[in-house]
Symmetry: C3
Subunit: 467 residues, 3 copies
Amino acid sequence: MERPRHQGMPKNTSMRWRLPLVCLLWEVAMIVLFGVFVRFGAEADAHWEEEKREMNLTSDIENDFYFRYPSFQDVHVMIFVGFGFLMTFLKRYGFGAVGFNFLLAAFGIQWAILMQGWFHSFKDGKILIGVENLINADFCVGSVCIAFGAILGKTSPIQLLVMTLFQVTLFSVNEYILLNLLHVKDAGGSMTIHTFGAYFGLTVTRVLYRPNLEQSKDKQGSVYHSDLFAMIGTLYLWMYWPSFNSAISDHGDAQHRSAINTYCSLAACVLTTMAFSSMLQKKGKLDMVHIQNATLAGGVAVGTSAEMMLTPYGSLIVGSISGIVSTVGYVYFTPFLESRLHIQDTCGIHNLHAMPGLIGGIVGAITAAAATEDVYGKEGFIKAFDFTGAYQTRTPSIQGGFQAAGIVVSLLMAFAGGAIVGGILKLPIWGDAAAENCFEDDVYWEVPEDEESDVYHMHNPDKPASP
Amino acid sequence: MERPRHQGMPKNTSMRWRLPLVCLLWEVAMIVLFGVFVRFGAEADAHWEEEKREMNLTSDIENDFYFRYPSFQDVHVMIFVGFGFLMTFLKRYGFGAVGFNFLLAAFGIQWAILMQGWFHSFKDGKILIGVENLINADFCVGSVCIAFGAILGKTSPIQLLVMTLFQVTLFSVNEYILLNLLHVKDAGGSMTIHTFGAYFGLTVTRVLYRPNLEQSKDKQGSVYHSDLFAMIGTLYLWMYWPSFNSAISDHGDAQHRSAINTYCSLAACVLTTMAFSSMLQKKGKLDMVHIQNATLAGGVAVGTSAEMMLTPYGSLIVGSISGIVSTVGYVYFTPFLESRLHIQDTCGIHNLHAMPGLIGGIVGAITAAAATEDVYGKEGFIKAFDFTGAYQTRTPSIQGGFQAAGIVVSLLMAFAGGAIVGGILKLPIWGDAAAENCFEDDVYWEVPEDEESDVYHMHNPDKPASP
Amino acid sequence: MERPRHQGMPKNTSMRWRLPLVCLLWEVAMIVLFGVFVRFGAEADAHWEEEKREMNLTSDIENDFYFRYPSFQDVHVMIFVGFGFLMTFLKRYGFGAVGFNFLLAAFGIQWAILMQGWFHSFKDGKILIGVENLINADFCVGSVCIAFGAILGKTSPIQLLVMTLFQVTLFSVNEYILLNLLHVKDAGGSMTIHTFGAYFGLTVTRVLYRPNLEQSKDKQGSVYHSDLFAMIGTLYLWMYWPSFNSAISDHGDAQHRSAINTYCSLAACVLTTMAFSSMLQKKGKLDMVHIQNATLAGGVAVGTSAEMMLTPYGSLIVGSISGIVSTVGYVYFTPFLESRLHIQDTCGIHNLHAMPGLIGGIVGAITAAAATEDVYGKEGFIKAFDFTGAYQTRTPSIQGGFQAAGIVVSLLMAFAGGAIVGGILKLPIWGDAAAENCFEDDVYWEVPEDEESDVYHMHNPDKPASP
């Protein structure tokens, strides 16, 4: 079932025509589609003065820009620096980690503005955008960055762009089903971003299984400074996660509450991660892989419930559990997934996004089901779950059921979508590297010749010895 | 008086059971205490709609979240990336610097929310929290990060957690005495955060004096790239310090003014630091230690007075002086403190936080004493110093006296607290490393085997030669 | 015409008295001038309570601080971390890149507050400052950081300070001519910051032409980790550019629109940069130089027009083109400029700032000329171009003409100013290094002795071999 690998016969990994072709064609398509469809929303349009009068707003500060722009910038940092640098831990794949993440995210946000716009911001034939669309586009691309973590080092940039195109599309469909058809709450995206993104990526990497990957085993580790670069990514994700989970919550108390819950959950998660990281090693030494990743599980696991009345201690409990689950995952599940299920998960997204995402979905369902007018207040209750219009009669327990259904739908979309997209990426036309050249920047990047690099030379006969 | 060191007999530094036990026990304690005490404040609670009506607020933008959240995120970055990376300058202690700072801060903010909450946000048996509590918790932990700088590389993670527990407690008591009993203004924490934190840390490191530390002298320096990592910390502290000093100031002009004063002070500080760094070296070359640290003294030194009418030129003066004092401190005081007073101050916090903190307290006292209704306006005067209720009759000169008293109290708390906590940390049960293994990540971390690492091998007989 | 270089006779590069003298003298001058001129503006002054009543403001949130402070902090990060780390790509000039950028920016913002204040915020003999002045000072210094990119590695810190003094002065004059006399719109500074800054720097580096620079050719490259450090700078510039272009736009829709246009332009720019980077290399490999720089051209190129109704697809077009132009520039123009025109442009600012800046100016002129009341709305039209008072009768096409004139004025100021300042910097009193010691931190910095450093030893006979 797997593609045979002929060692010694180098694969054609040259991107010279394929990558420019794909990038330019797609950018032209974006320009055309934006030209036909995308316009400024009322709050970003020069007609805003009139709009303000109509809506009886007395101050420019009521523009949504001021409610959401600081959070948007934090989310933006998470996508580009957070995910980008988190993946630089590999000793010779830092350019690919930061650079390809940059490429796929920059393309993905354009396509996401269109896809999500058609579903959510379409009015009179036009997609009307504002700062919330930018945040949602970043969110959508976040799910692609997650999936990228599973296949990091094993794919060509073209494969990543193809995957981004399909995954953004599927993300938007899944998101529409959850938010609009099931009327599910998922402000921080435990289901739509993390569960969907992670299981999608895991399915793709399963389909792309490389039996000879141990040939590049020596390059799958880190070096001292690459681990420090990765900590830049970790910390920015960790610090800005309260902005992530609160960025598109309702104005006022909901944004405020989301930030507090996430802050608490993440703080607790660090302690349980450190505890289990030390406990599960023979000599009790801490492992940077856990610190870089499992400390973030607390943010994932309150993604759905952060804007609900989870309460600070509820957040501590969720954060504590997710740190434990995630660390245990790195120690026991990742090797198991690789050896038994042939799922090669470079960054361990199963531990950081998949399992905590599921926890997040479940916690969200429980928190919703347990909601009462007493806890939320009469108005707050209706506002928090948007029990208006067609949903006026929905009860908390029914909402909890729909939330649970959202998890299942996300999983199904991820598995089905991942299988199809994995199949497409398996076509032998995308220029991915041979197994012995995985995790090596030299395949797709001009790499400077430092002294160190001697040691990591790829098996490339036409490369001269360094001077 | 000092613990004898038996070279050759390695100490038991294994964290395998001790660290997990401490982390998990404390996290459980946090969950229980949060469960009993902590609830959302009015602005983060789902009842906010009703609150809004009661308070006659017409817009969600009046929620304190929008006044303070951007500053909160900046402060958050300072604590985790700023302090964390500032301390990565050591060639082989980057994991410990970033990782232990992460651990102690994540634990500290939970405990600080409780401690500060009992003192300042306690109502009907509950601590009601909002974004301001998160900022204050970060502030409180900032003082622990400062103290960590003095003992960097010489303690086990358990010692750090024990120190955090006690220091957060003492910080909160000291803060309560200053802000509530003495009615002192200290928005940027020159006294409560910097003076207290630094002298506390210096006292602890004095008690923990290691006579044989020259055994790890080769590891106390930096390498080229570790100095660049440290500059990430420096710059984030420098850039976001205006947010630090303005984060909890009164809404409106006070926040605005604090940011401007801090911006000015820091800009001036860079120039005098560069000047003295060059002047005090034989060959006139700049020293990265000064650039990484003394450039920040300007932020510390306007901590108390930034929200007052210090004026931009006043800020330039304070910043200029503090840069000079701090740089001179690195060149002359630090060696003196070590050789004569047996104070081993790894990061030189005496120069960056202790002395500039004292300057900040004094400048604050003078600025307060010099305040007039003419300069502040009648209403502004009362608002700036909160001369209402019991303090209605306080005059500027009396306020100046109380400000000065605040410095003294902070110093006493720091010395007494540091001595006691130092004594506790001296107990031979915490798993700290032998003198020859200080400043070496290998003791508590799984460290990847890069080629470079050969050179830095610790004196650990059971470690195999790298392949 | 060029200064003769006597190889073997080391130049006197000691900064021991010259640098401190310049720094301290200038800081004293700043203190005096700030003391005479600078005071808090109404929104940062303690009299704000009275001001609020006069202006009929009901809430502190109306303070300009809350409209602009988050953007200010993003801009601040761009200047210090963005530009600073972008230039760390050189293997042995990281300290100089980050450190000298820090120095010149910290000095420049003080002088800029004065210069811009006299032109724009002068009232009753005082310069009244607020958060907008801080942003403008950062902007002004941005143009110096750009020019620094052209001469990176070839000048002493004193030369940089001298250049900063003059360039800030000329910037402020040019800005005054454009904004006040020509009534040109340029919120993101395509003309005032990028075109002016880049051509100024290119002229300076032309005057300072070093014929023997190939002697330090081996140090003009990067190493693996220095390229990753540079990506930190790149990403922060890229992510925060929407804040840069919107930071001083009008409140409300204009800020909102600027951010969206810039976001779109930058996203498109990444794709065309990647496409051309791969296409223009023989083996189709991506070049980090392009990714680090050309991806940012999209932000420069919408600097003038971002706050206009450029529309999202217009932004995509501008971003796409600028990415192509910039990448082609790195491959073909930079070598041409060096070999034929003797312009040694270390960072390639011609490709990142000069050409995209010109594009930005032209796009701005066209977008302004094409404006209609239909697109902007009657009020929006007047507000967007400030067609009030003396400019009441200006038509879009006339505005377009003035915009174009703004480009020409900026170019003339840059060439004339750069020639004069270059001439001053050529005086043999500033302590710049010999050609063979360029791009080497060891000249002006205490550099730690890592093993690696052996390889990069500068030609300095009095330096002992490393131990």
